[in-house]
Symmetry: C2
Subunit: 216 residues, 2 copies
């Protein structure tokens, strides 16, 4: 397959770009993204729900997960709740709820819970201190560990430890891999475009002297 | 849709889990991931290519992009090259090259270029100091800006500024959004499972008093 790439932007093009155009371009150009709702609650019992597409795997031993928070956005309520309570939830988005998930990015006042505003339901269980999203198929309970400030643009890498995982039974494979397609999880690109997935294949562990083969 | 979630792991389950099982579980549980090949070169002219699924959008003004590097893995060659040269490339993976992309995760010696080992081709252009992947439909040239160490598990957040973007003409929408499905880009989950995508919809900017509508 010969791919034509006649078009490009160089550094001066990027620097001179209209701001909204650059926002769309740079948000979409990094590839498909994780898509999850982060649930949190403050000490007064006010819950909050926000859509994130910057979840990143940090390591399995201990089980660490990160996400990027922009303090000047609606995400600031999530960040302040997490720093206050120490716990939060990460809930996968599926096809049935992605419009509600998107709607959580509207600028609701702090006194209004996005759960109620968008029509999703809080779920509390096993004494975990933050609300899960009842309509979500895969739910993670996460304990705040650390925040790292990215001084270059004022964003924050939030680091948490996964302390519990709720999942549909049929999605867990024998070796521990979770089948996200079976769970109905979806992905996104840019600020606003949502995608379903279809598996191409699962490949064997790569070794220098053999080619990967399809497994499962 | 009523989703049954009878199954769960609590903190003690996670702590007591067989290590390989936990690796698969935690790697897959965070959601779908970006999938890209990072190209780099050392001062002696030895190129390197490594697959990453931890690319994360950091901000559009300036255009910053991050990725997580595990220093104890094959990714260490990429990291040392980037720190040495100051420039690297991020190249989207498509259906035609994902097996080669996967194969770059094999432990080749530093003296062997993964480009040659897996059958992908280096492309140099516009005086950019690192090799692009010729077979990749979307290619980013990135300048190293900063690294942040995540002390909890010894990983590193690598922060770079996007300084050039090569893309197929038909993929760029009028408002700057890049259509990654049209570009053939794919996504992945866990360590080894690859997925094509199909667009559900693009939604309008969310405002508190109206529901999002489909655009385009």
């Amino acid at each position: 397959m010969e791919i034509k790439k006649e078009h490009y932007f160089l550094q001066t093009d990027l620097a001179g770009m209209e701001q909204r155009f650059r926002t769309h371009l740079i948000n979409s150009i990094g590839g498909f993204k994780s898509l999850a709702l982060i649930g949190s609650i403050d000490k007064a019992g006010q819950s909050n729900l926000a859509v994130f597409n910057s979840i990143v795997h940090l390591g399995a031993h201990p089980p660490l997960i990160g996400c990027i928070v922009r303090p000047d956005s609606v995400e600031r309520h999530t960040l302040s709740n997490i720093l206050e309570a120490g716990y939060y939830t990460i809930n996968h988005v599926n096809e049935a709820i992605y419009k509600q998930a998107h709607q959580t990015s509207a600028r609701y006042p702090k006194t209004q819970s996005e759960f109620e505003a968008v029509g999703l339901h809080e779920e509390y269980k096993n004494d975990f201190a933050a609300p899960f999203v009842k309509e979500s198929s895969i739910q993670l309970g996460v304990m705040f560990k650390e925040k790292l400030d990215i001084v270059l643009n004022g964003t924050t890498l939030l680091v948490g430890e996964i302390v519990c995982i709720y999942y549909p039974e049929h999605c867990l494979l024998q070796d521990g891999h979770m089948d996200l397609e079976a769970a109905g999880s979806i992905t996104c690109s840019g600020l606003d475009t949502y995608y379903g997935v279809k598996r191409l294949s699962r490949l064997s562990y790569a070794k220098p002297d053999t080619l990967p083969r399809e497994v499962d």
